[in-house]
């Protein structure tokens, strides 16, 4: 007769299966995520540290980097404001067209960014619907910063709203009602009750939004015109250099883009660790 055995796992199940799955997850992550990223840095440094720094500080690449950051700095705050407002309206109120609004917010998820770019071109371009009007007002939207910002806003519109909305719906409005009965006014309720409750979802949405805004290629390529040193964002600059057979330069620029993305992730992780 067997004596009492301590069971650390259910009898009849081998420990091999979970180990295999964990190993597989690590292996696939390494192949599909880590290796390409490592390769970017390896190729960027292929001609030595000096050439790498030179490539990054190339005026055209530097301008593209600055433009990309500028677009993100404009787009992300606007999308945070839009996302909170939309999620709040949908979660707290019942109004006709509410479901339609949810669907419309999600449209950018399902539409290819290049279609968004073409739509904006047809609307705001010189031959476009609003073209003559904009020309009269001496406003240049296409092949300029406003166009790039508009398309990036379109593409990133759902990120914050989709993160915040489920949380607000799950929490309901009782805490806000409690704050009202305790005498709190609109801004006090938002800053002291609503915002602290959604801050992590908001942060996550903002990070995703930033990553997407920085990396957007398709939509922006249609509306920017890719004018070097003027309307070229970093992803467009990388493609141009790649087409120019300037592989090392392309990889150097790519490494900058990767670093921006990694910095955003690190900031998020740092903020989350204070949770």
């Amino acid at each position: 007769m067997s004596s009492v055995t301590a069971l650390t796992h259910a009898p009849g199940q081998s420990r091999a299966v979970p180990r295999l799955l964990i190993g597989l997850a690590f292996f696939l992550t390494a192949i599909f995520v880590v290796a390409p990223m490592a390769f970017i840095f390896w190729r960027a440094m292929a001609e030595g540290w000096g050439a790498y720094v030179g490539n990054i500080l190339d005026p055209l690449t530097l301008h593209a980097t600055a433009l990309t950051v500028l677009v993100a700095v404009i787009v992300v705050p606007i999308n945070i404001a839009f996302g909170i407002a939309a999620a709040w309206a949908i979660a707290r109120f019942r109004f006709p067209g509410r479901k339609l609004l949810v669907t419309m917010i999600e449209i950018p998820f399902s539409i290819s960014p290049i279609i968004a770019g073409i739509c904006y071109l047809l609307l705001y371009g010189r031959q476009g619907l609003l073209g003559p009007l904009l020309a009269d007002a001496n406003l240049k939207v296409m092949f300029a910063l406003p166009g790039i910002v508009l398309v990036t806003m379109f593409v990133t519109a759902p990120f914050v709203a989709r993160e915040v909305l489920p949380l607000m719906q799950a929490q309901g409005s009782e805490q806000e009602e409690a704050a009202v009965t305790l005498g709190a006014r609109g801004w006090q309720i938002f800053s002291r009750v609503t915002l602290p409750n959604i801050r992590w979802a908001l942060l996550y949405g903002a990070v995703l939004c930033t990553a997407r805004a920085v990396g957007e290629f398709g939509g922006v390529s249609v509306v920017s015109g890719s004018i070097r040193g003027q309307t070229n964002t970093l992803p467009l600059q990388i493609e141009l250099m790649f087409n120019d057979l300037n592989t090392t330069g392309a990889f150097a620029a790519a490494s900058t883009l990767t670093v921006i993305a990694l910095v955003v992730l690190v900031v998020k992780a740092a903020l989350e660790s204070r949770r």
Binding site: A178, T181, L182, R185
Partner: protein
Amino acid sequence: MSIVIDNMTKSFGGTSVLRGIDLTVQTGELVALLGPSGSGKTTLLKIIAGLEWPNSGGLRVNEQDWLGLAAQDRRIGFVFQHYALFPHMSVRDNIAFGLTVRPRAERPGKSVIAAKVEELLHFLQIAHLGDRYPAQLSGGQRQRVALGRALAIQPTVLLLDEPFGALDAAVRRDLRAWLRSVHQETGSTTIFVTHDQEEAFELADRVVVMGDGRIEQIGNADQIHDHPASPFVARFMGATIELPVTIRAGRVEALGLDASRLPRRALPDGPATLFLRPDDVTPVADASGRFQISRAASNGAILRLELTDGTLSLPVDLPRRAPEAQGLTSGTRVTLRPEAGAIFSGGRDAPAPRTVTEFPRKEQSL
């Protein structure tokens, strides 16, 4: 702080939730709104709080029109069933919230707020929990904090929405006694919503029974128990037996029924319905009785009988050791002798009479 509600109605998208509510609550009174879910009691409470607005009617508190006043300016303490504490704030900060959001000119100093919070923590017997967060508290503790948060602003009226609904039975009983003592010490006018009769009758000075958007009856436990104002209240108070009877010269008559213990009623001759609780009835063994015992079960103290006359089936409870219970077994034929009951004119399915008798308040009637 008397509250006067006058002919108040409210509907949500075509569904009437309140159908003309008239109610006056006196200063310092503790009133329960009792009713099944969907009776409109929570909506009424939220309108008093300013979290909902009525379609018509009046709400005056201390001669002031409250319908022209935002919730923030009413100074009410509202306690939610699921506490609605702020999860990112400590217990101390939760309780202080209502004081810290006041406009700068009216806001007490930091030390004054801290002292007030400390005083409340002691008063509510949660002094040791001040630095905890809501997630670290039990349900009963959370509800104490929620009440502390509501009391901190020294509310004109205290409103509680199913305050013990989410708690288990032992904690409920505990908190009930505690709330009663809190009310006695603060003396604040208090209205609470519940669907639990025991809770309503044990805690409140007066109980307002609501059904389907109307006030069905106002009174204390004995009044509502013995003299239900409508078939709705009778059913809600546990009258599961409804017998069709005939009224003749104020007397109840029905086949197989010994109505000698029921007092005469000033009701018109004709069909009526007799409402009985299972323990209001004594079955008397009678070989020619209309009913037969189809099932007899005992839990030791109570003998539970199932009676049938072939079409009707009714439950009857009586103490197992009572002399009346002797010899009652499955198959015995019996006559029913109601000891008490409520009678309403009209057949079983006739519309309920809409007259509501308001009983005098407890302290005046006893």
